[in-house]
């Protein structure tokens, strides 16, 4: 699992980056990263990132277990039939709207700075938006987890992750909209470049919001179940 952490997502990012780089290189553009830089990045990954993940895992293993407040039964409980608005697909899609709504105005400026070569300087603002985003994600995840548990559906682990992470899909959708309305990119290579980088950005956003959702739901569930008496 430790190794998977070290390789899965960095591997995906690096893979996309590598393919895009080949495309840029094919165009003889100076945007192509030379071999030495590629090597330096691989060194950063394998020489710094991977050992640090292992170190982190080592410390993690040495720490005491988290005491779970309730015991898990041997036999899984039957989940009652859920009404339409509690179906996974629906809650996941709805959950992503608010985190996306919190960032999309800033997203416009960030995309303009990347693709229209404008300077971006509203870092104070961005920090504020990030804080708002984190809070919104946490609250949405907790609220949805609460409703779900009230409906006696206990499969909340993935749901809490995805209901926030779905905002990553909205980000990618917005990228498509931005592409068609604001940019005049015609070359196929440039189009692939755009969508490749936006894909990386969306995955980053997906993971960021999702993990906040899951961690907040976890602490929420842990808190409410440790405050009730169970015989």
């Amino acid at each position: 699992m430790t190794l998977l952490t070290a390789f899965l997502y960095p591997g995906i990012f690096f893979g996309i980056f590598f393919i895009l780089n080949l495309l840029i290189w094919g165009q003889r553009s100076s945007g192509a990263v030379p071999f030495t830089t590629m090597f330096a990045m691989l060194c950063l990954w394998f020489g710094v990132s991977v050992p640090l993940v292992c170190l982190g895992a080592f410390f993690g293993f040495r720490k005491a277990n988290i005491e779970l407040p309730v015991r898990t039964n041997q036999i899984p409980r039957q989940i009652p039939v859920q009404s339409w608005f509690m179906k996974p697909a629906f809650t996941i899609m709805v959950g992503g709207v608010l985190p996306f709504g919190a960032v999309f105005t800033e997203l416009f400026f960030i995309m303009s700075s990347i693709w229209q070569h404008q300077f971006y300087y509203l870092f104070g603002f961005l920090a504020l938006v990030l804080v708002i985003l984190l809070i919104t994600c946490a609250e949405i995840a907790m609220a949805l987890t609460y409703f779900q548990l009230t409906a006696e559906d206990y499969n909340w682990w993935w749901r809490s992750f995805l209901s926030c992470a779905s905002s990553g899909f909205y980000v990618f959708g917005y990228a498509i909209l931005y592409f068609s309305s604001r940019l005049q990119i015609e070359k196929p290579v440039s189009t692939m470049l755009y969508f490749g980088y936006m894909l990386i950005m969306s995955i980053l956003f997906f993971l960021l919001t999702g993990s906040i959702g899951l961690l907040s739901s976890f602490s929420f569930v842990w808190a409410i179940y440790s405050s009730i008496k169970i015989d």
Binding site: A57, K63, I66, P76, W158, L208, S211, I228
Partner: protein, 389 residues
Amino acid sequence: MSGRGLGVLLPCLRLVTSFYLPGLSPVEYELGATVEMKVNKLTSVKTQLPYDYYTLPFCRPRVITTSAENLGEILEGDRIENSPYEIRMLEDMTCKVVCKQALTVEMRKQFQKMIKHEYLVNWIVDNLPAATKYARAGKNEVTYINGFPVGVQKGEKYHLHNHVRINLKYHTNPDKYFGYRIVGFEIEPFSMHQAVKEKDGVLQASCQDGDAAPIFDLDVHDELTFTYDVAWAHSEIRWASRFDNYLKMTGGPGQIHWFSILNSLMIMLFLSGMIAVIILRTIHRDITKYNELASAEDAAEETGWKLVHGDVFRKPRHSKLLAVSVGSGVQIVCMSVVTLFLALLGVLSPVHRGALLQSCLLLFTFMVSSQATWHRVSTRPFTEPIGSR
């Protein structure tokens, strides 16, 4: 986690600052001192593919040298090289010839292709990128764009910008420092056909001012001359705020943007506040109810979330993937928070080329240690054999 995060942050800070960050401290030039002009990549919003300046047959210096670059600059495709343009502090020049060359069919094609794709030339003087002033259509205000176009396309005709007026601004304060500091760098590009004659082995050109000059059409002429003017002007802008003009480039009626952002933020805050209140109150009621019921031994009628207490920590399907995603996610959260923090401190601003991207990358790799710890702890339930305790 925060303690560990800080521990990771400190070496990072040192690392980031030890890398080359351009434009951190002011440079004073003496009267007549050489001000080096550097060239950067050619960029286009239309293709997003940057090219080296010397892929186009511009005038070349005798030896092309590349300036030191950091990781972020390389990733952004920056290639900063020297140029044959000679600029001296407070020395105005008019119509100075850089070079004259024959215009071949091959060169014509290259220029036309770049002009067609709306490529911009990026020049740098004293770490200050060149800006071009242009008036917004239909409005009385002036905005700046980064760099200047290689040329303009008028229907089937391509007009190459082969003459530039370099407007430099200096600031001086004899009480505080000696010499002159450069606080502004603007370019006015022109397309003109200069009259060139040779005198004592030196090329001399006469550039006609303004619109009177004949335009340099790529298809018409077969000799290409690059010329430039240099004009120095005093400015009240201090060195510390010389980047303000560039930051205004984002343009548009700024207040409208601010208003809309603020509006959405208010809605967000209000909404999350509401959710928080509802959840806190309902759950508090639930908990007291459940605990009362348990004491009254009325457990048969219990409903709601207490019912699933035996399953709530059941290991989910594909738990490994979930744990890995959360692990990487935490890493990204830490990276964003620290990067923004550094940006707020002013360590990373757009003024420092490539710094932002580079620090993101470094922080991402260094954050692993902090996230992995957290990740092991938080995902412990997944690895436990469920139901054994």
